[in-house]
Structure formats: structure tokens, C-alpha cells
Symmetry: D2
Subunit: 455 residues, 4 copies
């Protein structure tokens, strides 16, 4: 693994015919946030049904099994692979029967006090059938002494810490909660049904809305609970004081450029990151090229600001599947080149600025530099549109251990040497924040860059 | 569904290298007890790993994923399809972390007080993530106040009623329990390891032993708990007074003829059932033919006793897979004929006795009669080597509702007319018991035949 | 490979709605004659369409692709694996466009002058795209100077030697030919269509008729050509003088017991082989058991004649699939036991006669003897219901080279020792012929037993 | 189908260890030229082996079957779907045995005199087993009276007309030919083997070279034959006078931007097409956005020339697979949106220039315009970086019939209205040629734009 990885995507759909089908399209739109497993639960008011399995959304679901997921409400989940665990057991939604009936839950994030909560619950006789934090919440709900699910969810939520974008589906209602820090993105949209009624959708990324003709309404607020029930407008409760610390790295890498995250369009922010980077670090070069697809917007910004021409100097092959036969030793560095191929004629004899979003271990960057030199680049300047990543994330992102983060153990000069570039520059943290152009951006969680954890 | 169906098979292997591989072969041998899902958990002393999925044993497991199930102990399960439920959620083993560590459980049977136990547990805050009774046991264990797993299992077991052949795997031990009634078969075998040490295996059917070169030792006793731990011989505890009521239907249909069930070889019993049937009902006929494969042994017995020649007059096609294209209306009765084809030359102009193990709904029997008449049979006498099935089972067998059991709503004469046979005879309950040749056979559970439930 | 293998099955259907679907069911019935590849061509009078691929009939075809094979006429083929060749290229039917239009051909058999014909054709500029003899016929037809397909087929046929059951499909007609020796079985059946019209079917084995409600009419005669065209009754031409030498081994092993082959029911012949064997070789034993499924009928005959009780002492597991994980060395002989499991209680302490159809290499027989001894047999007498196989077949059967036929290089005593049996007996060739009970049985091809090749 | 489609890609590898593996990687690089079927033949000097099947390169081949394709020479092929035919029969390579031995052929292109050649060959007794023109060549070779394969290939080639990039593999040699018009691209590369020897590769697109560390040497010349044999340098014969008419549409759409086609880098040409378009048609707009991925380079050129900012305003989802569930009517236009999603914030309120490579039927363009309007575009100006496509191609490209080409039956104004754009402009043919910047560009085949066919 040579990148940070988002751990999942969630979606909830309420008051729509074929809610499961809309959930399916939404998960498809958010496939980039998790490719290991996919699942949907739906309710027709009487019974919750769940289908989940390993694989991409399009391989888990087909016309036939989607039909079984009847009903007007649905929750769905894409899971990112967490190596080393029994992945079979860890697909979502998590379904449970409990004293008030049935529920099915999807969760994007990570609880920071999971271990102690689990320990306490286990001491009190709870059993855990998976390695997902989500089970903790269900136990807390089941054990709560409150009378209705809504109160119990609140009861449970007040005991957990960390990052969570949650959707709870009961047989008749849907509850949506975002943690008080609002670490992970979570948006609310509206769907105009054919019969004139209004449906609702919540999703980890707003790009999910476009495919199902939903309109972005607003973000779910940090600390907010949204309650959806039949024949009522959605109700909003502020169940925790908001202390927003949205994840700044969503802008750097995770989110799709066509998503609106924390109120800003990702593409726009990325471009500004490129502009800031150009302002901070002036480099004498002939062309600016992005590492596709993640570096494109920043490279456009860099080019626009620096007046150095932008070129798509590296072409990405999108046909790679799981079954690809691994190259033998003879064909060194083939692995990166399977995906990325340079355009020799653009690069030959040129001083090249190559823009990437981040450097995690450094191995991919080194291969990219080598590929560009192989294509005849006179100079290769690696420009990273974010600061060095020095600390792991505990709020829903899969990051290597600190010792595997190259920036945590090497200086920029050393990394530059390691990746064999002529120069290496990073956007400053201040520059990154300036790209976000706003006073309250003070509150971003930027622990991966500065090691300061908000929880 | 036109037959009773066994709901599953379990296996436990202890103190064997590659325990999971032995579990795999054992499950393969017991594939006839469940084709819907298959799973294995193994432990290497430090961690329990689980792989389970839909499909036959040979499709769930391959060389690669079996390798991940390292360790010297393993439990495995084949599940029969329970239509209408979320089958994805209902595969076994059920893995759980709880206050004493980890465990993985497999269960063959049905708890008769599941509903009330589940209700009580749910009222006390437990959550249920599947529809399997097995979860109840895990909850009872997790909530028990005893200090060690062994005591807790006992604690839990004493609260449940019904049929259960259970294997519990902890990180270092394996516990095996059979209900006091001993409804379902459950045998203990011994494996001579290459290094001279001795390994152990328990399985729902003794045919599982043969493939892994295990020797049948004895049955797990009703009410017995067997404890397997490192560097100790297996320990036996009689945790409940035995009140044996082994399932008489195992002999009629479920078990493989090469298995030893409740101390008797199934093939042998079935043959005796045919002999008894011939003694009870003398029929003037030219040949005796079985419905393959389930009626073969009884037909041999009938022929031997009646001196009417035995012929394999119906050939079974074993290539049928899931993907078979259903015949259209034009080809009526094709569905049974896909599997069963008569040998016209044997049957033409003959008075035929056809032996089957049981009649459930009657539709298959009718098609068989028609097929035989179509092949030119002069007379068709349907002989059933068990009494009429008039009551559903609550002890681990999937049976239709009472109203769908043809014998529950029609007289033998009416059934005979429905299936279009010239005559129809059943073995009497007394005859069936005589086939089992033993005084203590008094204790068999024969509720499906007489409606008297022992629990 | 430790058995002789039939190389294929053919079917032709004419004047039936959904002819391809009937061909599909027929191929399914004849799956035992070839599991490597399957294919069907159909014609709607305007165009011939072909679908063929690797795998079982049920995996090559599904509802959707069968629909594409519209039309009232169809030909189909199951192919047996011929190791070492490019199996992808060798599936049938073979489709060709030529100067008179289109045709599609299926072929069961082997041409003995294939090599010289191919050589000559190649010298004259023909190309061969596969390793199938069938292409030779198509070339001969394409190059013939006759004016119509019928005459050309005759022209071609007169140049080839060997074994061939052939069906040619043109856009509007179907031609069926059996070689003058009539080596391979080939039967004609009649189908009563719903609209009152009559359809026709030809197939390698008559068991194919039963599933599609066709009536056996008669065998295609050695040297006969059948011509099917619209609005005419089938026409028969005797294009070669018949010199019938039907394959005697079809009775021994290949055909399904419910098929009628060369005018006799296979089951019946096999039983008589067992009777003859009992007459020839009297053995003092307690039970007679078959190797399932191929030895069952002969064992019944042996038992009936010898009065030694018949028992199904070995149970066969039918779930084995391609993906089965091979046992490691530790579990020796597991491979045979995966399929065959003895019933210990039947065998223990007994003198056992075990009946098999033939011994090819001897390895399987040895494992069976060991399995029976492992189950406690006091004596194991291997009785083979056919003579020793000493010569390979060149008429459509896949046999090992002569040096791999154990009977070609060892005496019966030596084989007995090799397979570790207490005694080994074979049915004499005369006994085998007596089982066929008929004067003209003189003409059987029995080259595999006596090395005398008729062509 | 709403685009022109390249019909295939070919590759040939000679004198390389694991030649088939290199062919595999090359086909992977050229997956964009054909996704329906894939195949490779290899030779170890003694025997040619072939594996081919439906599906993507990565699904047809795996570690295991690639191993079977041993040898130092290999040819490979990706095929584009040609609807309506029996696709199973039409996979390449085409293997044949003929009087000089064995050969295997791959072909990118279309023969324009195929029908008459096939007719003549058929009249002379040839048979055709597929619908591929490639068979014609093999027949001509087999029937040629020349003594060696090389002369025969030349003999055959001189009889065919049309487009062909061909690779012939015999057991020991490889022959490469490009038609005299040089319609389709075809390049020669060199591979430095680990043992110091030199291997060779030819491929439809030079992007295939990069992945296997081959160096582009030069294009195979129109009318040139390259001969590869053991222990000799490649030999070049000019077997036909070159009359180069390379396909101008390769630059417009087919080729990967990182390929060098006909001596020019595709990316570079596309950018110039955008520059020319901007020079020809000045439009008052706020942003220039491409239809990804095909319009990107031209949009960069347009932006650079017009000074209107370039933005990646439409994001493409690359996860779409075959199994995708089609949207229902309610979700209109979802089909295009599954792949393409606009960034609302970039587009809202803007005058947008959207750049695409061509308009075939117009339906996709209309949906793109609607998507952009839905995202709030004030004006949408569709700019096409090539002239209107008014005529189908007969030289290896799959194009709709003339009546389905919107430009063949509507004026630009009418098309503009149909696609609901505010304005629609095309690059002029002269402008397109200027993008190619060269005198001899006179010779391009541009029949799809001007209807003048060179053959």
C-alpha cells in the first residue's frame, strides 16, 4: 500500500420507490472509497433484508438479487480492504435483531474509544461477531434503557468517540448521525419522486447524488441527528455541540473532484492547492504534468499560476483487474507502468514538474521519477500538493504505521534523494489552509500533517 | 421441496496438522446433509480464523484460502438452505469474541425453546445478527457468570432444549456436546498422526471418518460433553442425564448408507426395513426396483425376502447442476425425468414394485408412477419403507408444514389414487422398529410418524 | 486415466420447434460420453448459428444463449477431453461455409485413414484449423464435383474409413450417416409435436430420447444415410454395403444402462455378463459387491446366478467437482476414496467378490482392493465382467497406448499380484459373446480384447 | 453504438523468452482497441499452441494457461465485438495446418475484395469456418504453388486489397506485413534480452512497447514485409510499391495518446487539432472542458490558443463493468451519466465550450449537453476536433451505416438543434490536416470525412 485509503462509503435512502436501487447507484458512484465488499439493507416497513458480499458493487449485485431488496428505505456500504482480518465477517450493513425489533447499520469512520467500549461490553456479557466498530454501537443501543430507538441511538452515540458517519435503518425509520467533529464528509440530498412526493438521500460524498438525480441540500452537521419517518418531514436534532474538525485530507486525495465536501467543491480546492504550491515554490521548468488522476486539478492550478504549460504527460490504463498476472523480475517497475505510461515525445529533453497529491512510502514516487527519466526527462521536479504526511490517522482512514511513513523518518532532502528526483517540494500546511480560503478552516483536522490529534 | 431435509452437518478436528484440511474433506463427505453454505474456523492457539460462504464445499474452499486456516484444531459446517431468510447471514461457523477470548461454534440441530430464550436475551440487551439458534448459545455463554469456558458452556447448555450436536472451538480447546435426547447422530473418531501422536475428530456422520483415515471410536453420548485440550487425553463429562431419543428418520433417509448411526450401519437397517416391508405386505409382482439412490438398500431387502428379483430399473443422472434450464410446459414431468430415467425393457409388461423411502407431498411419487407406466409397466405398486409422515419435525430437520404432508390429510387409499399407483403400502411403525432389532429402540424419536414429541 | 473413454456423443433434431432446446436436453442425457466441451448449431432455414465452448452442457448453455439458437433443426455434440491438444480449437459442431452454402457437422468416431486423407488434402491446398477428423469430411464435401450436398456427402463418405456417426446440418436439411461397420451406436427416434406434426431425432445413445419424449424407432443402419428435409418423410439410402462390426465395449462400459445399443438393452447385457462370469468362475465367497456405478448390473447377474448375496458394499460420492483440492501424500489413496467409500460392516470378516467392468492400468483396481482390505475383508476376489483389454482402439475410443494396458504386458496371475487381490478372474471372450446371445454377434468388433482390427 | 470502433489490435514477438507473456502485456496495453475476445499463439520451434476466448485480456489469460504457451515467438490479438455474428467462431489468432506445416495468423484490418476472393476460393472447394477475412489469406497461402511460406505469403498478399496489419507465425519464423496503403498503424520495436541478445516486437500501437521495455524502432512501412528467423537479423522486403494512405481517424479517436502513430505522437496531434479549432472558430466563453478521456488533448490545445481557461469539468467513472444494472425509465439519461458526471460549481452560470473528438449518431452529444445544462451552464458550445463524419469506413473500422451517421443526413445547424447546443462547430478538414503539419499528409485516408475511398 502506497497511499492513504478511505475506509468506506455509506448511503441512506428514504421514501423512494426502489430505494435499494438508488442505494446501488449511489454506492457505484462512491466505489473509489472502498472496493473490497459491498452491501445493502432495505426495509418495506415490515422486514429488513440484507445482501452483502465481497467484491465491487457491480459484482455483488445483479438485477435478480436487487429485486429481493424491496422497500422504500435502504442503507448501503462500500468497504475498503483491511488486510489481515477475516474480511468475510466484516462486510456491512450490520444487521441485528434486538428488543425493539430489527435494525441495520452502516458506518463510515473509526471509533477511538472502541477498544475500551468493547472491553466493557464484553465484560458485561456482550459478544462480538466481527472486527467492526459498528457492532459496539448496536450493543450500546440494545442495552440502553431508553424506550425508543431514537433515544437509544442518542444514548449510545454519547458514549462513543471518534469519527462516524452513521445511518441506522429500522423497519420504518431511518436515523442519520455525524460525529460532533464532523471528521468525515456526509451530505444530505433531496429526490423528487415521480408521484410528486419527496425522497431523501444521505451519502458520504455528494457525487452519489448526481447519478440518482438528487439535489444537494446541505451537509449533515457535526453533532446532528436527522430522523426520517413516514409522512413527516425530516427532523433535525443537534444532539452534540458541534466542534467541527473536518478531515483536510479529503481535499488532498480521497474525495472525487466532482463532490462537494464540507461546503467546498473538491476540484476547486485542489486547483487552489496547485496555485498555492506554485506561489510558494517557483521552479524553472518546461512543463507541468500530473500523476493521473489524483494530481490533475492541482497541476492545472500550478500551471495556471506559474504559466508553465500543463500537459497530460502520463496516460493511465483503466483496464487493470484483479486477475492481472504479475510481472517477473526481468520487467522491473512494470507494476507502476501497468497503470501509468509516459508520453515520451512530451517529456524528452524537458525539465518536468510532476504533481502528485502526497507521498506515503515513496516507492511509487520513485518509480514515477524513473519512468519519466526513462522517457527522456532532463530534470524531474516532484511537487506534492500537500505537506509531508508524518502521522497516521485514527479517524476512519487506513494509513501505514508511523514508521512506514517516509516523511516521518526522512527529511525532505533525504526523500528527494530516495525518490531520485532533481528536486522535491511540498505545499506548506499554511498554503494548504489558504487553498481552503476561510477563517473557520482553523478547525480542520490535520493530524496526518502536524500530529495534533483533536480527540 | 418434496422430501425431508437434514439441516446441516458439523465436524470438529483436534490435534492434527492441517486440521482445516481434514475438516474440509469431512465436510465434503457430508455434502449430502447441506449444500447451501459451508464454512470452517481453525485455531493455531493464538487466533481463530474463519472462512465461510455460499455454495458447495468444493466451491467455497480452494488451495489458497484453506492455507489461511492454519492450526491444529478446526470446526466446520455444511448448511442446508432455509428458504425465505437472508441466507448470507446464516452461514456457520459463528465466530464471536467475548470476555474470555474468542470462540467459533458449529451446530447441527434446532433449539425448541429458541424463541423464548431469544426473547429473554433480547430483553436483556442482547443483539442477534442472524436467524441461527447458535447465537443464543453464544449469548448464554458470554453472559454466564462461571469463570471458564467449560463451565459456561455447561451453564448455557442446561438452559436450552431441543436437538444439538455442537462443537465449540476456543483458541486452545475444543468442546463437543450432544443433547441429552441425542436426537441427531454424532460420532467420535481417532486419527493416527504421522508423528505418532493421536488426533481426534467428531462428525455428524461417521462417513466423514473414512476419507481422513480416522477410526470410528464410539458415538458421542446423549448428554455428554467431550473436552479436548493440548497434551491431555480427551475428557468426558456426563453433563446431563441421558434420555436418548435418536431420530429414527436418519435411518429412513438422511444418513449415507456407509455411515454408522446410533450404533447401527445405515445400509443394514435400510435393508431390514425392506425385509420387514416384504413380510408385512406380500405383493404379486415380477420385479422390485428402487427409486435411486435412497430406496436401493430397502429394495434389496424386499427382494431378498420376497424372492421377487431386484433390478435397477431406474437410472439416475448425476450431472444436474444449478444452472439447468427448466423445461417448458410442453415437456411435462421432465423435471423428475431429468434425474430419473426408466429402463423400458426391464419394465415393459411387468408388474413392478417400486421402493421409496417416504412420501412427503406426493408429487414426485406421482411422477415416478407415470414414468414407469410410460415405460410400459403393467402394474405399479409403490412400497414405502417407512410409515406415513404425518407430523413436522422440530429437532433439526426441515419438513413442510403439516398441511403440506400428504399423509396428514389423506388416507393411504386417497394417496394411492393421487399418485396413480395400483397399490400403495407403507412399512408399519412396528415394522420399522423391528428393523432396528433392539429393546432400547423404544426410545427413538418417531414424532414425524406418530406425532408424539419427546420435548 | 484409468479407463477407456468414449470420445463423444452426437445428436440431430429435425422438424421440431426449439430444436436447439431438444438438442440441449439430449446432450445432457449423454453427458457421460464427453465432459470437456459442448456445442450446438441450429438452423432456421436461412442461417446456421453455432454456440460451443468448454465445459459441461449445463455450463456452456443457459436460457439466454439457447434462445439465440432458433430454428427447427439442430445438431449437437459433447466432446471428451483429448489431452495434449489445443482443446479450445477442437469443440464441435464444426461450421463451414462452402460453395453450396453453409453446413455444420458433428461426428462421433475416428477415421482410420485420416492421416493420409489429411495429407492428400493438404497437398492439394486445404488448410486444417483443428485436430478433428471432421474437418477432413468437410473438405472432401467442399471439393466434390457433385452438384448437391447429398451427393457430395456420399462422395466424401466413400473416401473415408473408420468409425463415424455423423450428422450434417445445412440451412434446410439434415443428413445422418453411420459407417458401414456401424462401430458406434446411433439410433433414430420420433417426436410427436404439439401441432400434430412429427419430428425426428438421432442420437449416439437412445437414453437421449427419453428426456425429450421421443420414441425409439430403430438404429441407423450400418452404411445407411438418412435424409431429412421439409415437408417430406425421412428418406433412407443404403450408400454402403453393411458389414456390421458394432463395438462390443459399448456394452462393457460406455453406454448408459438405460440405453438400447445395437438392438439390446445395455443393462440386460451387463447382467448377463455377470451371469456368464458366475458360470465360468465359481468362487467361494460371502457377498458380491459392484464397483459403482459401472459394475452394478454385472454384479446383480453374478449374484443371481451364483446365489451369493448382492450388496452395495461401496458407496459413491457424486459431489466431486473440478476444483477439488488434491490430498497430500499423508493421505494416500485418498483420490479413489474421494469417490468410493466402503461400508465396513458389510465387508468386515467377509470373503468379498468385487465386480468391475474392466481393468485398464490396474492402479484403481489396486486401490479398491486396498480399500476393501482396509474395511476388514477377509478375502478380495476381483471379477471382471469382460476379457483382458490387450489392444488399443482406433474406432472412436480413447484408450491408453498398448504398453500402458496392464493386460498387454502381464499375465492374469501377475495382474492379480499387482492389484493385491486374492484372486482375479475375467469373463472369457466367448462368455462375453454368449451374453449377447445371438448368431450375428459374430460380427462384433472386439479388437480391444483380441487385437483383430476389422479395418 | 455511438462512436467509431477500431476492430482490433495485433502483436508479434520474436526471439524473446516467454514471448507469450510479452504478447500478453502488449495486448493489455492495447485493450482499448478491442474488448470482445483475446488470443495468443506461441511457438517453441516444434509446435504452435493457441489459447483464445471471449473477454478481456486479463480474463482470458491467467498464470496457468499462459505457461502452456511456451516458446520464443508469439502472436496475439484483441478483437472488437462485431454484433450479429457468431462471436465464438471469430476469435483470433487463426491457426491452420497446411502443406508446409503449421501457421497462426493475426490480422488488424479489413479486406475490401474479401467477398469476391472468398467466392472464388469457395468455388474452388475451400471451406470457411468463420466470418474473418483472415481465413482468405490462409487459403491463398495454402493454395499457392510457391515452395516456401515466405513466397506464398507474398503470393497471397498480392491478391488481396484493403487494410491489413498482419503477423504470420510459423513453427520457426515470423512474417509481418502491412498493406501498401498503410491504412492501420503498425510499429516495430526492439527488446534487449537479459542474455544480451535482441528480440523484436511489432504491434498495432506503440504504447504496447512501453510496458515490455521495448524501444520504438520505426513503423512497418506500407507494402513492407519483415521476416524474422532464428540467428538472423530481421530482413525487410518491399513487396509492394507503397502508396501510403494512413487512417487520419487514428489521430482523432482510436489511438492512445501515448502512442506514436504514423510517425507522430497522438497526444501532440490532438492538441494541435484543438489549436486549429480555436483558430478557425472563435467563441466567447468562460471555460473549455473536454469530454473525457477522448477530448482532453484537443481541449488543452483549444484553451492554450484561445486563452479561455481549461477545466476538467466532467469526471469519468472508470468502474463500469458488463454487469451493470440498467437504469429504468425514471432515471433518464442515467446511462451517459454513469460514466460522466459534471462538476456543478465549475459549470454553473458559465458559458461552456465542450470539446469532443467526433459526433457519430448524436445521442451521446445531446445527453452531454443536457448534463451540462442540468449543472447550470448558461451556454453550451459543442466543439468537435474533427470534421463531420459522413461516410462509413471499409478499412478495418467498425462504423454505423451511412444513414445512421447524423452528419450524413443533417446540416451542422440541424445537428446543433438536435443536440440542443447553443452552437456547434467542427474542425475543417483543412484544419485537421494542418494539425498534422506535413506535406506528405496529402496522402491520408480521410474517406470518413470526404467520402473519397482510396481503394
Amino acid at each position: 500500500m502506497d497511499s492513504f485509503k478511505e475506509e468506506c462509503a455509506v448511503v441512506g435512502v428514504y421514501n423512494c420507490q426502489n430505494a435499494a436501487k438508488l442505494a446501488y447507484y449511489s454506492l457505484f458512484s462512491m466505489q473509489h472509497r472502498g472496493q473490497e465488499a459491498s452491501g445493502i439493507s432495505s426495509s418495506d416497513g415490515k422486514k429488513i433484508k440484507t445482501i452483502k458480499n465481497h467484491g465491487l458493487v457491480t459484482s455483488v449485485f445483479d438485477e435478480e438479487n436487487l429485486k429481493k431488496l424491496s422497500g422504500y428505505a435502504a442503507v448501503g456500504h462500500n468497504r475498503y480492504s483491511t488486510a489481515g482480518e477475516d474480511s468475510m465477517l466484516d462486510a456491512q450493513p450490520v444487521f441485528a435483531r434486538y428488543d425493539l425489533g430489527e435494525m441495520s447499520v452502516v458506518h463510515n469512520g473509526n471509533l477511538t474509544n472502541a477498544q475500551e467500549l468493547r472491553k466493557k461490553l464484553i465484560e458485561n456479557g456482550a459478544i462480538f461477531q466481527s472486527f467492526m466498530d459498528t457492532e459496539i454501537l448496536i450493543h450500546l443501543i440494545a442495552k440502553s434503557e431508553k424506550k425508543c430507538l431514537q433515544d437509544r441511538i442518542i444514548d449510545a452515540i454519547l458514549q462513543v468517540q471518534g469519527a462516524y458517519s452513521l445511518v441506522f435503518l429500522s423497519r420504518s425509520k431511518m436515523f442519520v448521525i455525524r460525529d460532533a467533529n464532523g471528521f468525515r464528509p456526509f451530505s444530505l440530498g433531496k429526490i423528487q419522486n415521480d408521484d410528486g412526493s419527496v425522497g431523501y438521500i444521505v451519502a458520504s460524498e455528494s457525487c452519489a447524488f448526481d447519478l440518482v438525480n438528487a439535489q444537494y441540500v446541505r451537509d449533515v452537521q457535526p453533532g446532528e441527528m436527522l430522523i426520517f419517518e413516514a409522512n413527516k418531514p425530516p427532523q433535525s436534532l443537534q444532539i452534540m455541540s458541534p466542534t467541527p474538525h473536518p478531515c483536510i485530507f479529503e481535499y488532498v486525495y480521497f474525495a472525487r473532484p466532482d463532490s462537494k465536501v464540507f461546503g467546498r467543491t473538491v476540484y476547486d480546492v485542489r486547483k487552489k492547492m496547485g496555485i498555492e504550491l506554485a506561489r510558494e515554490k517557483s521552479i524553472d521548468a518546461d512543463i507541468v504534468i500530473p500523476v493521473p488522476d489524483s494530481g490533475v486539478a492541482a497541476a492545472l492550478g500550478y500551471s495556471q499560476e506559474s504559466k508553465i504549460p500543463f500537459e497530460l504527460g502520463i496516460i493511465r490504463n483503466h483496464y487493470i483487474g484483479r486477475t492481472f498476472i504479475e510481472p517477473t523480475q526481468t520487467m522491473r517497475e512494470l507494476k507502476v507502468r501497468l497503470k501509468l505510461n509516459p508520453i515520451r515525445e512530451l517529456i524528452e529533453g524537458k525539465k518536468v514538474i510532476v504533481i502528485d497529491d502526497s507521498i506515503v512510502r515513496g516507492t511509487t514516487s520513485r518509480q514515477i521519477v524513473r519512468i519519466l527519466r526513462g522517457a527522456g526527462a532532463k530534470e524531474v521536479h516532484m511537487c506534492i500538493s500537500s505537506p509531508p504526511t508524518i502521522s497516521p490517522c485514527y479517524y476512519g482512514v487506513d494509513t501505514p504505521n508511523k514508521e512506514d511513513l517516509i516523511s516521518a523518518r526522512m527529511s525532505v532532502e533525504q526523500i528527494c534523494e530516495y525518490i531520485e528526483a532533481d528536486s522535491l517540494v511540498y505545499l506548506s500546511l499554511q498554503g494548504l489552509r489558504q487553498s481552503l480560503e476561510c477563517g473557520q478552516s482553523d478547525s480542520f483536522c490535520q493530524a496526518c500533517f502536524d500530529g495534533k490529534y483533536v480527540v
